[in-house]
Symmetry: D2
Subunit: 339 residues, 4 copies
């Protein structure tokens, strides 16, 4: 491994940009963050102050132009991802990009082609692969602990829907929310999905329906190796963030439970109870955000492949488009119909 520090730039000082900037500053001494860009200069400055980032800019161009910077983290809004990947690749920077790459396959193709051509590394922000629970499930599959997988279930529910204004630009539930679960399904089983069937509805808020989206969905996945999977999505679970998976294999099963802020059980005259699970992704997946960035840094410094490739970003979007098509046409849809 190189012993010198890796110089990086961050594009986007929003919620996830802040998470990654703090990981780099406080947990990865092998990294120096040289610059942060955001059109919201105030946010960028505050974050720079907190994390000791010397340069603040409103334009990502300044980051790409900085020859010292070897890698960039793209944490801006989705509609900018593809263009920024192209620009970063052309500037010869290694790239960590939040999901999804784009809502449009053409844009994704263009971005991945640029990465390919430039020979830089690209890691997509599917952080959940780095979560201790899901990593343990993947390990059980890889090690043969549960034998050959047969059935898989993913439950992935948010505590509450985002504002309808966000939903309108989100690409829809399948590209905004399920996309994590599509990636998780492929990651856990280690095989490609061939066909999807979607059942769904508007059960949480009619405004979501008026915006042309669903808020509740059940997607059946059929993998090439025969495994059958389901993804259960709801924009609203009264009890908070619900993130579980379960796999039945020929030798047994593995199932994960939610994560709780404490392990206390209170028994009273009316019930035996626990506090609610960790409420949302910033609390639930804290460690995985740090781990994915650590893994990216390590891949760059050791010149290894990243653990979530560009193709993973592409396939998850293909699955999302197929899931929507299945819902619209009320029939199972093969992924090769979409692409």
């Amino acid at each position: 491994m190189s012993t010198k520090q890796l110089n990086v730039g961050i594009i986007g000082a929003g919620r996830i940009g802040k998470v990654h900037a703090e990981t780099l500053a406080f947990r990865l001494p092998e990294v120096r963050t040289l610059a942060i860009a955001d059109v919201n200069r105030e946010a960028a400055q505050a974050l720079a102050a907190r994390c000791g980032i010397p340069t603040v800019t409103e334009s990502s161009a300044a980051i790409f132009a900085n020859p010292q910077i070897e890698a960039v983290l793209i944490c801006s809004s989705t509609n900018t991802h593809a263009d920024l990947i192209v620009q970063a690749a052309q500037a010869g920077k290694h790239i960590f990009c939040e999901k999804p790459i784009a809502h449009d396959l053409g844009q994704i193709d263009r971005a991945l082609a640029a990465v390919e051509q430039a020979g830089v590394k690209l890691q997509i922000g599917f952080n959940r692969r780095f979560d201790a629970n899901f990593a343990r499930v993947r390990q059980a599959v890889v090690s043969g602990e549960i034998g050959t997988p047969r059935l898989m279930h993913i439950v992935s529910r948010d505590p509450a829907p985002p504002p309808v204004s966000y939903i309108r630009v989100s690409g829809g539930i399948f590209l905004d929310m399920t996309i994590h679960d599509f990636d998780m399904a492929r990651f856990l089983i280690g095989d490609e999905v061939e066909e999807v069937y979607t059942s769904g509805g508007v059960m949480v808020d009619p405004e979501i329906g008026k915006a042309g989206d669903l808020d509740t969905a059940l997607i059946v996945l059929r993998f090439r190796n025969g495994v059958i999977g389901t993804i259960d999505n709801s924009r609203q679970a009264a009890y908070g963030y619900d993130q579980r998976v379960e796999i039945l294999g020929s030798l047994g099963s593995i199932a994960t439970a939610n994560c709780y802020p404490n392990q206390a059980v209170v028994s009273t005259g009316t019930e035996v109870r626990q506090d609610l699970p960790l409420n949302f992704f910033m609390d639930r997946y804290t460690e995985s955000f740090a781990s994915e960035v650590r893994a990216f840094v390590q891949a760059v410094r050791e010149d290894q492949p990243t653990r979530v490739a560009g193709i993973d970003g592409l396939v998850a979007v293909v699955m999302g488009l197929a899931a929507r098509k299945s819902y619209d046409e009320h029939r199972p849809v093969r992924l090769d119909e979409v692409r």
Copy 2:
């Protein structure tokens, strides 16, 4: 309530006939079992001796002809159910019949018509409705504890497949195994299913596939009220009998775990472990078998409707036929296509 004892006859001294005979003999003093019929006279005699049943016969006709007998329990093989229901109804006996009524809708119609015409009571043996876990889930729905249901999952896996010789006459996984889950789905949600979509495969034993059946299935249910449900079936779970349900509603969720022979947890140098769950239905559903018979006896004695009606027996078979059709035609199938 009548204070005199109810006189019953039992047809079938096999496994489930034995369970019901013992319930009647040892747990329901308000019942007298006057006769038991089985072509296997030896089995019938042994059971009669154990349970104090005065008359043993090889023919069910003798039971129908006995004017003292007010109600019969039909515990013989499935292919005899419909005819026996017709005969029992014509003889004016109240009827408890094991599931399924028949594999063929015409036979079920005939049986239900005979019951209707005779004005006798009929209860179908969907014992799981009487299980403490599932009754608790139903209560949570009825009471509004979890609000309006949105998503429902049933996991129903056997420890090991039956012999292929049995599978060949079983009516297939949907009529033999899933039929309990179809009924459970309707019971829990309290509404009718409109459409099913089946994904399935042969993952446990290729011989099951050669017999024209599946051993693994995932069925998506769409209810008239919009609820989306899944049933996960496997003929083989390495760890034993897996019987769970989960419902997400607008105000929360309810989920059941499996039942264990003890509540001991052992922690060693390598793991924290429990013994395996109760292995199969005779252990797992012991109490529900007694409860369903108690409920039947009570319905007859108090002249109340039975808690699982003939229509419940019919609809579950319709669902099974639709599920198979969906699998064969690889598309969602509406129940009204089958009937």
Copy 3:
């Protein structure tokens, strides 16, 4: 094993007498209950009617005098146990007797001497040994699954205290309530306690203190083999009946949880909850009551030693007296100081 039925008589038609009469009548076809005695003739008659017992008497003498009766179950109040054991033994009957034998060691000695002299079998009603959870813990100790035991904890709390009028004649918490736990401690570890140290108080109801008793106690046990144990007793747990044990051994630990009426977990906007555990001993220990009687019947019919001997009844009382003495004298007390 003898193939003929065992003829028994029951003394006492109260709560526990009813439980045993029903077990004998409905679950043990190898037993005929010929007679039941209770000064409350009405209770005895009702129970006789329910369980098909041909003879009802107000006097236990009639039972001892009946030459057909081979064994008796003594389910009357504690103050009668010792005398009834003596009479039963002198009449040559095998004896199942509820705990405790007596509050007084002299009476116990007399009773055990009579049993010894008559050569009849005696089983004391420490039903908890037959509970699935505690039997599993004992098995872990015997099999070496957790290695050599080092520390043991018993938690044994009632949902609510009995009436003070009962407490006054109960022999005190140690002979009335802890006695089960003293026996459990010996059973689980398979060794004798050498010394006890009691800390306790009146925390539930001052009236219990005025009656000269405690309602909360913590007893430290030191076994001859060096194991250290605790018993935690409270007359009142707001959430119901709390019955757990835990053992730490050289290779691991085993711990039991409480038993619940169902395995459903409800998650709402404020908490994740279960229903309360089974509330009291009639629900929690149902199966163990049947199992202990089955074991007694088997021991008599097969001429084997009973699984809970007279000495077990004696030692538990010695431990109770030592525990009280320790509390009174505020120091550790050796069992051989009491006896």
Copy 4:
């Protein structure tokens, strides 16, 4: 709150010094660590490099002499604590000191007197108070959620004993290991212990006994408010680090479970299992170490009392001495006998 950074020095670059140095460097931007002292200069230099600490010294005197340094963290070996507290106080520095202050009450008195006289703040490193589980239990007591406490149990077992060479200088199990539990007991109940009774033994390793120490102990605590508590200590739990508490109150109970590296449950043909709990304090209490330092920094910057005072450090040692005396004299010992 002051907006300027707090300047601190660290004494001791061993395991716990490293933990605190990293917390200060990476998680508390409001703190600047100006210097670190350790006789092991190499360790100090490595840590300084990692955490950006400008000055490395072998002598704590250099830290006390630095007028810029406002507060010190004493992370050196126990035998140095008291002297360093005195010197730090005399130098006018606020003090965070690892537990225990000393094994000798005279030294503790001297240290606390110096702190008192100097008017500086002192916080003792009882980090477990800041753990999410135990904080939740304390909250249940304070809020009245479980009513008035009656019984309390602390289980505190290490995965494996330290080297006997360490045990010889450790002050014995009560001052080295139980001291955390003594503090926890007082913290949870919010009252003082009046009397202790110790039962214990050498069950893990006879060498520990030869060194004059115990490796297994059960201590009964009697609080002034009547609560009865126990502490269960073992130097060896085969399954790892076991850290649980349970309190029974008049309105209910609260109990904590151990913490696990993941929430996955594997079911196979032989068992239902989880991975082992977090193995030792560096993993189990990670967050609490950061929280205690954050709380200390906050107390200093906001001029508030620290959340673990000098008296807490004193009382825990008094309890340890009383526990040993009880073991030696085989009788309950009041704390005022020791002090």
